[in-house]
């Protein structure tokens, strides 16, 4: 069921829900960008609908709600490790279809890979409800239609923002109950059917190791500067590094934490004794590309990349990952024809 609600009224709902939920949405942080006089848009707690930046694509994805940039795994007193104490709040997150699909991808790693589930991720994942932000038209660099992530049915509420009101679809009975006094309308969230750029996914069956030594990666070796912005803006990248700290003020106490890590960044493979792998940036690009469109699918059955295009938005060297996928597909098809 769908409703039209004024911003003022919707804000009173948000205030009410904030008793049970931590409410997150994309927020514009003025001058918070990485270059001077640029803004950042990332996920933060919101109080009112006006806090939400819905006209632009967020720079960081919604994954940081579930998987924060830095997370304390244990507080350490002397030798004693203690799990942090959390409040029992649930999570309500405003996000787009691609980011909802991206969380499904990260689920494979944190909830399914190996015999253990990650308790930190799981705790939040089980308590999250989505408010789908519809996309009326594609942003620059998006290729969600090619990846099949432009649509989703997996949401509690779907929303469209206007200057002074929202249209909202409530699928979750809890929220339908909330809105029973509101004016009902016909509404479902927008989704795009096409983007400005289309991507052909290489066939996993046709791809083979000859591509690993292809000349195409040398081009990226020269262009990539290993900054890792592609990794950190990616909604499906979930690698992390664990390290311990002790407090300067009190060295008896400290923390074991994990921090986002990226395969494009130096030290990702460095081992004790000085051995490391993929020292040139082209082979890191190859490794990342293969993970996003090939080996993740071999392991879990789904293409990892969701086509949000944030890597292309963020790359300071104007490397297009979408173009890279197409190049791989062209090569794979080429090779295939030669086999015939």
């Amino acid at each position: 069921m769908s409703y039209e609600i004024t911003n003022i009224k919707f804000n009173s709902y948000l205030e009410k829900w904030s008793r049970d939920y931590e409410i997150y949405g994309p927020v514009k942080i003025s001058a918070g960008g990485r270059f001077s006089d640029t803004d950042n848009i990332r996920y933060e707690k919101i109080k009112k609908v006006e806090d939400i930046e819905y006209k632009e694509k967020s720079i960081f994805s919604a994954k940081e709600v579930l998987f924060p940039v830095t997370e304390t795994l244990f507080n350490i007193q002397e030798e004693q490790l203690n799990e942090p104490v959390y409040d029992k709040k649930k999570y309500l997150v405003f996000l787009r279809a691609c980011d909802i699909h991206a969380i499904d991808r990260i689920d494979y790693i944190f909830l399914k890979n190996g015999i253990y589930t990650d308790p930190y991720y799981k705790r939040r994942r089980e308590a999250i409800k989505y408010i789908l932000i519809g996309c009326k038209e594609s942003f620059e660099n998006c290729f969600c239609a090619s990846m099949g992530t432009n649509k989703t049915d997996n949401y509690s509420m779907g929303i469209k923002f206007f200057d002074d009101k929202v249209h909202i679809e409530a699928k979750d009975p809890i929220f339908q109950e909330e809105f029973k006094e509101e004016i009902e309308i016909e509404f479902t969230p927008d989704y795009v059917l096409e983007n400005y750029y289309n991507v052909t996914i290489p066939s996993v069956e046709k791809l083979d190791f000859s591509l690993f030594n292809d000349e195409m990666w040398k081009d990226y070796a020269m262009r990539c500067i290993s900054c890792g912005r592609c990794n950190f803006s990616c909604p499906t990248c979930s690698c992390f590094t664990t390290s311990d700290i002790y407090y300067k003020e009190n060295p008896n106490n400290g923390e074991r934490r994990r921090v986002w890590a990226g395969c494009q960044v130096d030290k990702f493979t460095d081992m004790a004794g000085g051995h490391s792998f993929r020292t040139d940036y082209g082979s890191r690009m190859r490794f990342k590309t293969m993970h996003k469109v090939y080996d993740f699918k071999k392991r879990f059955g789904e293409i990892m990349c969701v086509g949000c295009g944030r890597c292309d938005d963020r790359c300071p060297e104007y490397i297009s990952f979408a173009r890279c996928i197409n190049l791989v597909s062209e090569k794979v098809n080429e090779d295939h024809e030669e086999v015939k």
Binding site: L73, Q80, G114, F209, F240, T241, T242, A261, F268, K298
Partner: protein, 262 residues
Amino acid sequence: MNPYMTYPAKIKKITKHTDIDYTFFIEKIMDVKGGQFIQVSVPKFGEVPISISDYNDELIELTIRKVGRVTDAIFNKNVGDNLHIRGPYGNNFDPEIYFGKDLIMVTGGTGLAPVKSIINYFHKHLDKLNSFKLISGFKSSKDILFKESFEKWEKNMDVCLTIDTPEEGWTGNTGFVTEHVSKLDLSNIDNVGVIMVGPPPMMKFTGMELSKLGIKDEQIWVSFERKMSCGIGKCGHCKIDETYICLEGPVFRYDKTVKLID
């Protein structure tokens, strides 16, 4: 249960092999197998993956090289202190694969540690093999690990302990392990089983030498080493292609690893 939680295990004994290679004997608070690894930590200093070099009913042996912040903290520990551990993780060497075979084991440097328990197993059960040849290489005589074990093994096993270059006072073998592999005289190639563990270049060139002798990749088993932060398939550091070294490894049959391009 939180899989990242660690458990204190008391250090019972420390053997110093070199200035930077010690073996820590810790309380056996969990079941382990040769070839597996455990996450070893010093709270407030960090956590590192360490392969199990040997174990008995009471103790787990961890041979550790002092190379960084965490291992520095481990080396500051004394007998009676705790190391924190969680695991064990990964698969193990299965001795039964080699029953009745001519087993050749080739190790480079600290690569000896993860297979020491297997060597000791066959040292006790030599009758289960047709023959056993151990080729162990170290950079120099001062880098040699497990000297007492070598003395014990050499008594009834065919051991080739070699150092890379000749040294004054060294009367044993010299040269890279690959040289000694190339000199192997094998009568029944099909009955050979190989375990090789060592630094990446050593494994690559040993693999090539074995291939020259006519040994197939399917007859060779290796143990891989990669950076790991979690040991349980979450952190992503050790992934190669669709394989997680911490989950499907660290022990692999060599033909599988040929497809693991970093």
